[in-house]
């Protein structure tokens, strides 16, 4: 299938010709052991669907970059298999895997012009000269840098360099594009702009993207699915909404966004859970299927789902609630965040208060409440 984009001049250009369907990347039992205390990557299985934008998210040292390097071939597998569209590539050297890669420091060749950089993968593949010229022009249009082909990388800004690197990594229609924290070196505004750019290019090129980042916001913005890494294994895989709304574990709940966490007194039953002597009701479908949840569980509620009332009588029936003291109010522009002292082991909770609601002040005795269907029971 042909990828078409509209250049600034308005004429359609076609960049790729065969990869619209993308490539499936399947990891099975992938392990990388450097002989340290714990394997860097420990028995990971993950299927990345053709054309999918998959983000490997996690704190540093969680194994996400090692996993990407294993897919790229820069690291050798200790055990397990990696298959592209069903064929095992575990023993292929990187230059035979036909995977594009984007690096945090751009890794442009400083002795080549922009055009020579972008032409490099085509030259290595012995593409005829006239076709090289055409495809380089097209892909530079696609990344919106059509007039910089004669410049050297050192003459470009960081954002422009990363666009050249992106053009170079997709010009040869790789089976998939691997992105290793490509926006990490850029400032905030530029990062947002390039996120938009990467999403657009993913849409237009349609090939499989595997994106590594430690920035949860970036992961949420970009991904079709996120694989959340934690110390060498995958904690949870799912769409950004799934990970945010339906975390399976405390780690997931804490890593993505703010959350109120209540460590339950014991395991939750099907309909109720106990916290600090209270009994909360559980809505169907809010209990994580994670096996750990049947042993030790916690209730997770997002701050935006927690309401605050002065009078306990104002709390709608059927809600779960907890008494609290307002410790502080943080003004966030469109809303305020109330920091709540929940009494027990000085635990602080967070609730969202309307920015215009001036009835709350620090020191108020309040009741924090939420609907049981907005909470999530996770493995603690």
């Amino acid at each position: 299938m042909t990828i078409s984009s509209t250049s600034r001049a308005g004429k359609p250009t076609s960049v790729a010709s065969a990869t619209k369907q993308g490539t499936q990347i399947r990891l099975e039992g992938v392990t990388k052991d450097y002989g340290l205390a714990a394997p860097a990557v420990d028995d990971i299985s993950l299927t990345i669907e053709p054309g999918e934008f998959m983000t490997l998210l996690g704190p540093s040292g969680s194994g996400k970059t090692t996993t990407l390097n294993l897919i790229a071939g820069f690291e050798t597998l200790t055990s397990g298999t990696i298959a592209l569209n069903g064929s095992d590539v575990g023993s292929l050297p990187p230059h035979k895997r036909n995977l594009g890669m984007l690096f945090q420091n751009y890794a442009l060749f400083p002795h080549m012009t922009v055009a020579q950089n972008v032409a490099y993968p085509l030259k290595e593949r012995k593409v005829p000269k006239s076709e090289i010229t055409r495809r380089v022009g097209e892909v530079l249009n696609l990344v919106q840098l059509p007039d910089r082909d004669g410049n050297y990388p050192s003459q470009l800004s960081g954002g422009q360099q990363q666009r050249v690197a992106l053009a170079r990594a997709i010009v040869f229609n790789p089976a998939a594009l691997l992105l290793d924290e490509p926006l990490g070196a850029l400032d905030r505004n530029l990062r947002a702009a390039l996120q938009t750019e990467i999403r657009r290019i993913h849409r237009e090129v349609g090939s499989t993207f595997v994106f590594v980042t430690h920035d949860q916001e970036e992961a949420m913005n970009l991904s079709d699915r996120i694989a959340l890494f934690n110390s060498g294994h995958i904690e949870q895989v799912g769409s950004p909404e799934q990970l945010y709304r339906e975390p399976d574990t405390l780690f997931t709940a804490r890593f993505l966004g703010d959350s109120n966490v209540f460590d339950l007194d014991g395991a939750a039953s099907a309909t109720s859970a106990g916290w600090d002597g209270r009994t909360w009701s559980i809505a169907p479908g809010t209990v994580s299927s994670h096996p750990g949840a049947s042993v030790r569980a916690a209730v997770v509620v997002r701050p935006e789902d927690v309401r605050v009332a002065h009078d306990p009588a104002d709390v709608p029936s059927g809600s779960n609630s907890v008494g609290a003291v307002v410790r502080d109010l943080e003004y966030m522009g469109s809303y305020r965040t109330a920091l709540l002292d929940l009494g027990r082991v000085r635990q602080l909770g967070r609730a969202r208060v309307d920015a215009l609601d001036s009835t709350f002040t620090v020191g108020d005795q309040v009741t924090a409440w939420w609907k049981p269907e907005r909470q999530r029971i996770v493995a603690a």
Partner: protein, 289 residues
Amino acid sequence: MTALDEHETANPATPTPAPRRPSRRDRGIDPIPWWLIVIGAAVALYFILPTLIVIPLSFSSASAFQFPPQDFSLRWYENFFTDPIWLSSLGNSFLVATLAAIIATVVGTAAAVGLDRLTGRLAAFARTLLMISLVTPAIVVAVAVYIAFLQWHLTGSLFGYVIAHAALGVPFVLVSVTAALGGFDPKLLRASASLGASPLRSFITVTMPLISRGVLTGAIFAFVTSFDEVVIALFLRSPTFQTLPVQMYNSVTFELDPTISASSSLVVVAVTIIFLVPLLIGSRRTKKR
């Protein structure tokens, strides 16, 4: 233009090509005090003067060394370029130095690239071994080479000169290429691999162009080291094969022939030109960027 372009080109009206970061020499430096200039000039003269005296000497017509020269003549140059012994010595020196420099450059570059990312004790040992000829007294090396080559029947042969001189050149290449690799980002090799280049192709298309200055510098040092090497050459000489330094040595010890001043002048000029080559190439490349 889309909104995101404006983000990046907020820096108003970036001309093409974009302005270069000011290089060090564009920036002002503190004025140099006069006494430092005097000391610097004295040291420079001390180094250069003996070399420069030989040049006017070579244009004298007197048949003994005479300074300052009384009159101007090219007879010693004529002598040099018509005497088959001088000419063949010069040719031999060029041949030996060129071949030795090529071998030293290949070996030294390979060693530098191979040892670059290694830190183990074995790598340190290998590095020391390759550098050893720098610190060993020339006469010791010469005697050792002579004894070995006598048994292998390599004395007086082109091959013998070449491999002995190549060994002397390797440390220079190793040092300059290692320094060049210090500024080389190994991530570039991951990039080239991901773009489909085999390790060999990556070396040719990415590593080599970026360390070429270091390689060239090393090659020149190796060439010059061989070109003016006299101790080993004296031991290895034969009636049929000798290098220019050996012939020059012969001419002062046995004949006191002023032709040596002509040949010395030629060597000075040749070596100066050789050392200027990378500077010229460098400045042209900087302009291109």
